[in-house]
Point group: C2
Chain length 307, copies 2
Amino acid sequence: MKRVIAADIGGTNIRLALIEEDGTIVDEKRSRAELSRHRLRSQYNAELHVINTLADIIAPFAELHGVNRIGMGFPGFFHSQSGRLASSPNLPLLQDFALTERLAKELGMSVAVENDALCAAIGEHRYGAGKGQNNLLHITLGTGIGSGLILNGMPYSGEHGMAMEFGHLCIEHHDGLLCGCGNHGCVEAYASATAVIRSFTERTGEQHDAKAIFALAQAGNASAQAVLQDAGKYLGMAIAEAVKLLDVSTITLSGGLSGAWEILHPALMSELDVNLIPPLKGKEIVLRSTLDDNAGLLGAATIAFGI
Amino acid sequence: MKRVIAADIGGTNIRLALIEEDGTIVDEKRSRAELSRHRLRSQYNAELHVINTLADIIAPFAELHGVNRIGMGFPGFFHSQSGRLASSPNLPLLQDFALTERLAKELGMSVAVENDALCAAIGEHRYGAGKGQNNLLHITLGTGIGSGLILNGMPYSGEHGMAMEFGHLCIEHHDGLLCGCGNHGCVEAYASATAVIRSFTERTGEQHDAKAIFALAQAGNASAQAVLQDAGKYLGMAIAEAVKLLDVSTITLSGGLSGAWEILHPALMSELDVNLIPPLKGKEIVLRSTLDDNAGLLGAATIAFGI
């Protein structure tokens, strides 16, 4: 069976996996790697640092498995025409960078790269809860909110590779909470894991991670239930806006916060229904990811297989 | 040069045109026709009434010009797979109706039909201000707000033909104005011609149509200027949401209210910029339609030509 290397690039972690065409993850490796270094001052040095860091981690893994084809999910925006990395919020020195070509040359391998949130959507569409759907909106609920879109069976990345900034849809136009992007009222400021954690602390004075808050909610803690219901409600509001524009029927959710499914999902569905126009009401299904953490890796494998 | 018949179907008016492949409108005819009759009670009768009414108007015009190919913009939602009319808000008796096939059989002509707002987008993309763009969001500011989307050069109509319900994006989540769709806070309730007329009356007690309000604004009337600036501002807010999801660079506006361009456009651009995330700021252009009322007809011609 054909095999490729898949890579999921985070700010401080790199996950590599050997994946077969049916989606089986045969081997996996996690490495720590600081791609963004503050002492790097020039684009030239930043490019060199990124290429060398990636190559040093990938090459031995690829060699070990005798595979010369890699797909990668990378946190950044890619020009849809040229495939160049336009920019990366966490690596501001990289601008209009031919990441794919440079890495392919350095590794002597075939390399395919795509935005990390879009990779998760591609993986969920190919191997997960969105399998067989013509259109899919996939949302990752983590520290922030990422998302990716499949339209007519194909990944859609927009004019500047910045499509599906779903996390920055505005759901509160008056005195909205400040978002990491600098704007106010973004759904990310209300429904990410970070937002849930902050909201719980504001209510109770206690500090817990998202998993613990979910456990508290299950045990009947009213504050924990309320913050998770609120997160679901705000997500439902934002999903309604996306559905009114895109008329997608299937929405999948992954990421830490989707663990609170039993509370999140009913709150989300009820608010989604309220906000849709009548002919769209009841036409949407929102599913929990069946791949979760592995959606990005499996999407990276998909682009490497070229399927 | 190849010629087709284009039809733009409204609630009480039907426009027909003979159009050449370069977009020249050679001949045009307007007819009154009540497609929705309240005494029709069965779907069977409603279908018959629509087919007969359309055929009676189209056949003589087609015969006169010796043309046997027609494209039509129709107010309704079309299944993207089957091409059947799923539903039409103004003609509720029509459900899952094979409009295209039935009309083709009745006329003995080749017939292509698409949603009217999407037709306007197709026309603007093929012959108007959106010519040559890969992606386009076209918005029609009339009694309501319609819109259509071109992605990767192709019309995008969504899973149930209901994509781009742009007019029903929510821009006010608290005590928003009631919209015709039954929800509150839709941009259509704030920035359609109807909304501007109502808002002006609320401010001044005077009743004027949109054109007159624009003339007053140009003559320095502060209330007229304020309601048009508000409409622009709300449009900018809604366009920002669409851009965050779709990353389209070119937005075109047509319809009566776009006549107030000098006031509408600056208010819109400034609010759009405020609401975009930083990497998208400054990347959008919003253009006034160069086809205006004819965008729908030219889009209908485009689908008839099969281009």
